[in-house]
Amino acid sequence: MLLALAATTIVALALLSHLIAPRIEQLWTRHRARRRRVPSVVYDPGRELRAEQRARTLLRSCVNEEEWAMYRDLGFIRVWGSQAGGPDDGRDAHGAPYAYLIYPHRPIVAYVPQTHRLLNEYCVAFPDDAAPYGSARLPDSDDVLAKWMALTGDERRLIATANMHLPGRQLDPVQVSRDLWRLSRWERARMRNDAFGDSSKPIDTAP
């Protein structure tokens, strides 16, 4: 009786093995994965702050004094477009001068300075796949500098690489329009300061 029961169990196990084996293997793999030591990088705000300070120093050494002051006071940099027709082969700006606003880790916004009309958002990132401290994100000011170098060095290539969207996909058009208004105020205040020979001090554009 016992022998028959054992034989039946073995046959049943043999028949079910193709179902059971993968499941056992999966459980074993999960168990090993849980026990494996994953090198975790703890977020260190001090390290990130030092990285950002280094990035700001580098950015300041690359852009001109006006661009640096703009970034310091407003949090973005304006770069003038250099393509004859506009950022997207002349279909948008209709030959008018156009410019970009560069924000850290936000899309680049193309607009017409004369009218403040927003043209497009260009979503672009500079991910470091090595992620040395667990993140692929550059410090804010490095991201701005990367965009600035890519735009001023090879605007066409950067725009071709970016994903283009209509204004408003990621950045609130009201906020961008407000930034353009702040920029206008900032430039007027800067001109006044220039007239009095003091263009280096920060300008507060808060209403």
């Binding site: 120093t57 661009e67 991910p127 993140s135 490095d142």
Partner: protein, 77 residues
């Protein structure tokens, strides 16, 4: 440029020294092979600043004091 670190000095040397130049060329190629972009910040007309994107070591202006490597651009979401 490195996440979590910012600016990192990769290599430095004097282009007038053959040994240094060779070392800088090799490092330049290594960075580009790793998928980075390279640029030199320049001062253009009327004090305007701009970058010169580099594809080969020979593109580097002789008077450039540094080359900045940064991750290649990718379309974002």
């Amino acid at each position: 440029m490195k996440p979590g670190h910012g600016e990192v000095l990769i290599a430095e040397g004097d282009l007038d020294t053959a040994e240094d130049e060779q070392r800088l060329i090799e490092e330049f190629r290594r960075q580009l092979d790793a998928g980075l972009w390279a640029a030199v910040p320049l001062t253009a007309r009327a004090g305007k600043r701009e970058a010169l994107m580099l594809r080969t070591f020979e593109d580097i202006p002789r008077d450039a004091d540094r080359v900045i490597f940064f991750p290649r651009a990718a379309g974002g979401g």
